[in-house]
């Protein structure tokens, strides 16, 4: 049986997905990238192999993606996460027509066709605003855990709007708001609105039609997801493990390459 692997080396997490010939998931692993992406990549791959009960030689094709994709020595080729997220989400949820992905340092909107091919995409400009980095910085300023943000946001009835576009200035603004006595959950709600506004701008640009799915770590932040759903007036499809979508897409494309 043909077996392929996709490895997504992101700025926050490094994920591996191993699939079989019939596109069945054999195993996956998610580990924190940390400071050394090479170590993370080896560790993630090893963990996924272990969980599948396989050895390196059993893998017929390895495709790498993510910002660290060029540094995977054992990969057969590399491809951008744009193409991989498209393929991964389309596989999981074939009705997907548009994709929102908010990653650690990049956010993107992708329009795909019925085969999961990328028709158009838009990414954030140089700024970190609208990415996972933005949330990290804000969480620190508010002295809360990143994982708490989603739930906190839902407690709010009235968002405190954040007017600043720039992450650095937004951070100062948030600190001032705390000093003014604004509630943390209202501020977090404002942050969710900010980030969702950015991302919706990208979605606007990208066109396309059909259901909207979301991938990337921030898809686990229910505050941001609700903010986006509210603005769009539709429910987003969120995969159970949004972080591994890139690696899954890579594994699927690897399968096509190994079995043309």
């Amino acid at each position: 049986m043909l077996i392929t692997a996709g490895i997504d080396i992101g700025s926050l997490s490094t994920d591996t997905v191993i699939i079989g010939e019939n596109k069945q998931m054999l195993s996956y692993s998610i580990i924190s990238t940390g400071a050394n992406s090479k170590k993370a990549c080896d560790a993630s791959f090893a963990q996924a192999l272990d969980r599948a009960g396989l050895k390196k030689e059993d893998i017929d094709y390895v495709l790498s993606t993510g910002y660290g994709r060029k540094r995977v020595e054992f990969a057969d080729d590399e491809i951008t996460e744009i193409t991989c997220h498209a393929r991964g989400l389309h596989f999981q949820h074939p009705q997907t027509g548009r994709i929102i992905d908010i990653g650690g340092q990049d956010s993107k909107a992708i329009a795909i066709n019925e085969k999961g091919k990328v028709m158009n995409f838009a990414m954030n400009d140089k700024c970190a605003a609208g990415t996972g980095r933005f949330l990290e910085v804000m969480a620190r300023a508010l002295e809360i855990e990143l994982e708490e943000m989603g739930a906190l946001s839902l407690k709010s009835n009235e968002a405190v709007p954040i007017s600043n576009m720039c992450t650095v200035f937004a951070e100062s603004e948030v600190i001032s708001l705390i000093a003014e006595g604004k509630q943390v959950f209202d501020i977090v709600n404002g942050i969710s609105l900010s980030i969702s506004g950015r991302v919706l701008g990208l979605l606007d640009r990208v066109g396309g039609e059909g259901e909207i799915a979301m991938s990337g770590g921030v898809a686990k932040n229910i505050g941001v997801v609700s903010a986006i759903e509210d603005k769009l007036g539709v429910k987003l499809h969120i995969p159970k493990e949004p972080q591994i979508i890139g690696a899954l897409g890579a594994a699927l494309i690897a399968l096509e390459r190994a079995n043309p």
Binding site: Y67, I79, T80, E81, I82, T83, Q105, D106, N113, K117, V118, M119, N120, F121, M123, D125, K126, R205, G207
Partner: protein, 404 residues
């Protein structure tokens, strides 16, 4: 420091091109030689804003120097960042165009050759006029700014023509040379022949596969058109290039072109990897570039000021977005491109401000469009990870769209 850069380049490139003739190296050599001449001091130097009709100062014996564009060259030698920083200490903050900031830094350090005249345009960008005004102050030279109308109607051309004629007396004063119709005709003839040569290169680039690409080719042509226009040696350089290109075509030299791209604005000289990534790895070639494409009619020797006025207003950036959009759509079709990539220079309001319009009109015409925000002068702001992902993603997308 520019003097040293030019001096070193001349020594090195003269030797190299003697051994192995190389059209692109010869362009940089010509630029460096002109630079050195500017420092010699025996001919008056004219500082020109981008897109200025250089035929006129050339006819009056000036050597042309482009203070806005020289920073782009320095960036290619990694000498720009320090100068940009210098300008920041003079108040100009990080939101300003780095071509201008770097130029200001260089001028304050005495790096540019001294100007006898300063010429600019009101309607390429706001920054140009402001920068030249500051230079005027610094060097005690009154800048002569042409009011460039937005439109190209008869009244507009007449207004501009009149201003071009009015330039002659002050330019004569600063150069010490008398203007003659014959001298202008001469520079115009060279300009027209150069234009024909450039048209020939673009004709060749329409072929599939396109026979002209690579970092040095693209950057070389850009330097030639924007900074060496109208000079006699430029004609020879272009003729050499044409010969090289035709030879390569005959020998079937190609990179296996799969995708054809249209370049808007220009690429950063300090990051030649962009071409390795696009051309070598992804087989995507820039087959035509906005700033090296002929958009004006031949200049009429008998009516030079009028035609020069028209040439000036025809530039896609000199006016409303209609001009740029029309240029992009027509050219994309003529060159049979698969996609358009626009490089927005940080701080360049008039190009980046038009991106929304470009995107809509170009995508509505069914042509994929991508904008990249970069800094064309300061490598410190450049994030290769971000840029390479977007470039690769774009070509991957072109590939997937082609399957349809």
């Amino acid at each position: 420091m520019l003097k040293k850069v030019c001096g070193d380049l001349v020594l090195r490139l003269e030797a190299e091109t003697k051994e192995v003739p190389d059209g692109k190296k010869e362009i940089v050599l010509a630029w460096a030689k002109n630079g050195l001449e500017c420092f010699k001091g025996d001919k008056p130097v004219c500082w020109l804003g981008y897109n200025y009709p250089v035929e006129i100062p050339l006819a009056l014996g000036y050597l042309p120097f482009y203070p806005e564009l020289a920073p782009g060259m320095l960036a290619g030698f990694n000498l720009s960042s320090g100068l940009v920083e210098m300008a920041e200490t003079r108040f100009f903050n990080m939101f300003c165009c780095t071509f201008h900031r770097c130029s200001l830094g260089a001028a304050s350090k005495g790096i540019w050759p001294k100007p006898a005249a300063i010429l600019g345009l009101s309607n390429i960008c706001d920054g140009q006029v402001k920068l030249l005004n500051l230079f005027g102050d610094m060097f005690g030279v009154t800048p002569l700014i042409l009011e460039t109308p937005l439109d190209i109607g008869e009244k507009d051309v007449n207004y501009l023509e009149r201003q071009l004629r009015d330039l002659i007396p002050p330019l004569e004063d600063s150069s010490g040379q008398k203007f003659t119709e014959e001298k202008l005709k001469e520079t115009i003839r060279i300009s027209n022949r150069t234009r024909k040569a450039l048209l020939r290169i673009d004709e060749l680039r329409k072929h599939s596969p396109s026979p002209y690409h690579g970092a040095s080719a693209m950057n070389g042509l850009y330097v030639l058109v924007t900074q060496l226009w109208g000079m006699p040696q430029t004609l020879d350089l272009l003729d050499n290039l044409i010969r090289e290109i035709e030879e390569n075509e005959t020998r079937g030299i190609s990179n296996g072109e799969k995708f054809r791209l249209l370049l808007m604005v220009t690429t950063p000289t300090y990051k030649t990897e962009i071409y390795n990534l696009l051309e070598k790895k992804m087989k995507a070639n820039f087959v035509v570039a906005e700033l090296t494409n002929v958009v004006w009619e031949e200049i009429d020797e008998q009516n030079p000021f009028q035609s020069l006025a028209r040439k000036l207003i025809s530039h896609p950036m000199a006016g409303s977005m209609d001009k740029r959009v029309d240029w992009a759509l027509t050219t994309a079709r003529d060159f049979n491109v698969d996609g358009v990539i626009h490089f927005s220079h940080w701080g360049c309001r008039q190009t980046s401000g038009g991106v929304g319009v470009l995107r809509k009109r170009i995508e509505d015409a069914g042509i994929p469009f991508m904008n990249l925000d970069v800094d064309l002068v300061d490598p410190r702001s450049f994030s290769w990870g971000q840029v390479s992902t977007r470039l690769e993603g774009f070509i991957e997308m072109l590939d997937q769209r082609k399957e349809l």
